[in-house]
C-alpha cells in the first residue's frame, strides 16, 4: 500500500515540451511511472518519448483516462494549468513550478475544493511511492520500498534524510515533498491522516521548517488523532526574523513561525525532534521498539 500515487496512477505531464518537463518525463518513465499523456498547446499529435501530446488536459483525459497530473509550466501560467487540470477532472495535481504569486494560489483554492481536486505543491519536488510511481523530480535511486511515511516542506533536505533512512534500512511507503510556499495544496495534517489510514505505513517522518504554523497543527493532529509514531526535524533554528529563507513560506514574522515554537509543539505532542538529520534513524528505531 501507499498514499496518493501507485501502480494505478495514470499521469499526464503539463508542459511536457519544456526543458524540465522533457527531462523529468524521461526520468519518471525510466522509474516505471505510468505516463499516459503530455500537454503542450498547439503540439497535439506529437509523440514525445513514446508519450502522446495533447492541446489540453481535457483532451488528454478524454483520450487516456489520466487521473494525475504533474505541472512543469512557468510560474506565471502555473495557476491556470492547475485549474485546467482540476476542471478536466484530474484527482491529484502535483505542481513542481516555483515562484507562483500567492494571490494566484488563494484564487484557485476554492475552485479546487469545489472540484474535489488534491494539490501537492507548488514549488515542491513531488512524491514517490517506491517501486510503483515517481511523480516528481526526486532522485529515484535513494528511495527504497518499506514502511515509513515521509512528509517534508523542503527538497534536498528530503533527499538527505531519505538517504539516511534507506542506508539505515528504513524503506518508505510514500515520500511527499509538500513544498515551501506559504499557501500550498495539501499540508502536513492532510497527509498524516492518509498515512494513519494506510495499513502498510508503521511510522512517519515529518521534516518541517520555519514559517507559518503547519508544524504546530501537525503536532496537535498527532496528539489528537494518530496512533502511529512520528519523528520530526525542523530546519531554520538559526534563521533571523523578517528574512525569507529561500522558500517564500520560510519566513519568521513578528516572532511567530519560529523553529523553537514548532519544536516545543512537537515535544508536547510526544513527537521527538532530531537535533540534526543524522539522529532521525535512531529516533525512529527507539520509537518503533516501544
Amino acid at each position: 500500500m501507499s498514499i496518493l500515487v501507485n501502480k494505478n496512477t495514470k499521469l499526464v505531464i503539463q508542459g511536457i515540451t519544456g526543458r524540465d518537463g522533457k527531462f523529468h518525463t524521461g526520468k519518471m518513465k525510466e522509474y516505471g511511472t505510468n505516463i499516459v499523456a503530455g500537454v503542450s498547446p498547439g503540439k497535439e499529435g506529437l509523440i514525445l518519448d513514446g508519450v502522446p501530446v495533447f492541446n489540453s488536459v481535457a483532451a488528454a483525459v478524454k483520450a487516456t483516462g489520466a487521473n494525475t497530473s504533474i505541472i512543469f509550466v512557468p510560474a506565471p501560467f502555473a495557476a491556470d494549468a492547475i485549474l485546467e487540470a482540476s476542471e478536466a477532472g484530474i484527482e491529484l495535481v502535483v505542481a513542481i513550478s516555483e515562484g507562483l504569486p500567492i494571490q494566484d494560489m488563494i484564487r484557485i483554492t476554492p475552485i479546487l475544493k469545489m472540484n474535489g481536486t488534491l494539490l501537492i505543491g507548488p514549488n515542491c519536488p513531488g512524491l514517490i511511492t517506491p517501486d510503483e510511481a515517481l511523480v516528481g523530480i526526486l532522485p529515484a535511486n535513494i528511495f527504497k520500498k518499506g514502511n515509513i511515511g515521509f512528509i517534508s516542506r523542503s527538497g534536498t533536505l528530503t533527499y538527505e534524510v531519505v538517504n539516511l533512512l534507506t542506508l539505515n534500512d528504513f524503506g518508505q511507503t510514500t515520500c511527499v515533498g509538500i513544498g515551501g510556499d506559504p499557501v500550498a495544496g495539501l499540508y502536513f495534517i492532510d497527509l498524516l491522516q492518509r498515512f494513519e489510514d494506510d495499513p502498510e505505513t508503521i511510522a512517519v517522518v515529518v521534516i518541517g521548517e520555519i514559517g507559518g504554523d503547519a508544524e504546530e497543527q501537525a503536532a496537535q493532529f498527532i496528539a489528537d488523532k494518530m496512533t502511529k509514531p512520528v519523528v520530526a526535524f525542523i530546519a531554520g533554528q538559526t534563521a533571523p526574523p523578517g528574512k525569507r529563507m529561500g522558500h517564500a513560506g520560510a519566513i519568521i514574522s513578528s516572532g511567530s513561525g519560529t523553529a523553537a515554537e514548532k519544536i516545543a509543539a512537537f515535544n508536547k505532542a510526544g513527537v521527538p525532534v532530531a537535533k540534526e538529520p543524522n539522529e532521525i534513524p535512531e529516533l525512529l528505531r527507539q520509537k518503533l521498539k516501544k
Partner: protein, 377 residues
C-alpha cells in the same frame, strides 16, 4: 518587497482611500517650506523600511514651522535599528477622536486574504493580539466574491455605531482589499485609521509589503523599490539564480536547496559556530552558479571559513565540483573551504576535486565541525 509609508500613502490615494495631505522632504529646508505651505500643525515622520520608528524618536509633532524645522534636524540622519533616515514625511496632523487598526494579510491556514480590524489602533497589532485578542475582529475573504458590501458594513458596524461613519469605514475596507489584490500585496495596514471630530475617517499611517513572486506583473510596485545595501547584494544574487541572505556569523555556507541550507546553518550553530549567510544555489546548478556563489561568499570580509554542502539529486555533484575548480582558478583566496558532496555523481565529483587541495568530508556534521575548526585557526 517593502515600501515606505509615503509610498503606501500614494497607493492609498490612487485607490481613493482618504489620507491627510503630506510632502516628502530630503532636507531641513524642504521641511521648512512644507510646514509653511501646509500652514498648520504637522507631523514629521522618518521614512525607513523598519518598524518601531515612533519609539526610536523618528516621529514628532510640530505645532509650527520652527518646531517642524527642529524635528527635521533631529530626525534626518538619525539611525533607526541600523537604518539611516534619509527622508521624512511632513504630514497634516489631523484632529483625532479615536484610533483604529485595519490590516489585510494572506492567511496560510484558511488560504484566504484575511481582514483584521480593531478598535485598538495606533499600537502594533501583535501587541493587541497578545494583550487583548478579543479586540481583534478577523474576517476571511472569499476570493471568488471579494469583500462584499454587506460584509464590510457588518465589520464596520462593530467599530462604529453611526451608520454613516460605518459606511465610510466599510468603503475604505473595500478599497484597501482592491488595492491589496490588484498589487499582489502580502501586508496592507492602516494603523491608525482615525475618526475625526467632524466624523471623517482617514488613513494616518500605512504599511505595505508585496509578494516577490508577483513582481513580474507589478511594474508600478517594482518601480517603488528602494533596496538598502544588504538587499542590493541579495537582489544581485537573486538575478544570478541564487538565494542569499547575509547573517552575522563567520562561517560562509553554500548549499543546494533552501531546507538543506537552513539545516546547514543550524548544524553550524549546533557545533558552536555562527553561520555568515544563507545561500541556496537552487536545483539545477550550472558551474557558473557555483562560481557566482563562491564570489559572494569570499567577498564577504566576515567569512573566516566556507562550508560547501551538496546533496545531489537533480543537481549533479560533478557539475558542482567543476564549478568549484573553475572558481578556485579565478578567485585567489586564503579562506579555508571544506566540501561535502553526496548523492548523484558524488564519487565523480570527489574524484575531480582531488586536483584541488580542498578538504572533503562525507557527512554534513563532519563538514560543519571541520569548517568551525578551520575558522578558528
Amino acid at each position: 518587497m517593502k515600501i515606505h509609508e509615503y509610498q503606501a500613502r500614494q497607493l492609498f490615494r490612487k485607490y481613493e482611500i482618504p489620507v491627510p495631505e503630506d510632502v516628502l522632504c530630503y532636507t531641513v529646508s524642504e521641511v521648512e517650506k512644507a510646514a509653511r505651505d501646509l500652514n498648520r500643525m504637522v507631523v514629521v515622520k522618518a521614512q525607513v523600511l523598519v518598524g518601531g520608528r515612533g519609539k526610536a524618536g523618528g516621529v514628532k509633532l510640530a505645532r509650527n514651522v520652527d518646531e517642524a524645522v527642529s524635528a527635521a534636524k533631529q530626525i534626518l540622519g538619525m539611525d533607526i535599528k541600523g537604518f539611516k533616515v534619509e527622508k521624512v514625511l511632513v504630514a497634516d496632523a489631523v484632529d483625532i477622536t479615536k484610533e483604529y487598526y485595519v490590516g489585510l494579510i494572506n492567511d496560510r491556514n484558511t488560504k484566504t486574504v484575511t481582514l483584521m480590524v480593531s478598535s485598538e489602533g495606533g499600537v502594533e497589532i501583535e501587541e493587541v493580539a497578545k494583550t487583548n485578542p478579543e479586540k481583534i475582529i478577523k474576517f476571511h475573504i472569499n476570493p471568488l466574491t471579494g469583500l462584499l458590501d454587506y460584509q464590510a458594513r457588518d465589520i464596520a458596524l462593530q467599530l462604529f455605531s453611526d451608520i454613516k461613519v460605518a459606511q465610510k469605514a466599510a468603503s475604505i475596507f473595500k478599497k484597501l482589499y482592491k488595492l491589496y489584490v490588484e498589487t499582489d500585496a502580502t501586508i496592507a495596514e492602516i494603523n491608525p485609521l482615525v475618526l475625526t471630530p467632524d466624523n471623517e475617517v482617514l488613513a494616518i499611517d500605512g504599511k505595505m509589503n508585496f509578494d516577490d513572486n508577483a513582481l513580474f506583473r507589478q511594474p508600478e510596485i517594482l518601480a517603488m523599490r528602494e533596496p538598502d545595501e544588504d538587499e542590493l547584494v541579495e537582489i544581485d544574487a537573486h538575478n544570478k539564480g541564487l538565494s542569499y541572505i547575509r547573517l552575522d556569523g563567520n562561517i560562509g555556507c553554500m548549499v543546494n536547496g533552501a531546507g538543506l541550507a537552513m539545516a546547514t546553518m543550524d548544524m553550524i550553530k549546533l557545533y558552536g559556530g555562527e553561520p555568515a549567510n544563507f545561500l541556496d544555489i537552487g536545483g539545477s546548478s550550472s558551474p557558473q552558479k557555483v562560481i557566482d556563489a563562491m564570489n559572494i561568499l569570499l567577498n564577504d570580509k566576515h567569512v573566516k571559513a566556507v562550508m560547501i554542502n551538496i546533496f545531489g539529486g537533480i543537481t549533479r555533484c560533478d557539475d558542482v565540483a567543476k564549478g568549484l575548480i573553475k572558481a578556485m582558478e579565478v578567485i585567489s583566496t586564503d579562506i579555508p573551504i571544506v566540501v561535502r558532496l553526496s548523492g548523484t555523481n558524488a564519487a565523480e565529483g570527489l574524484e575531480l576535486l582531488k586536483q584541488t587541495n580542498l578538504p572533503t568530508v562525507s557527512s554534513m556534521s563532519e563538514a560543519a565541525q571541520k569548517a568551525i575548526e578551520l575558522s578558528r585557526l
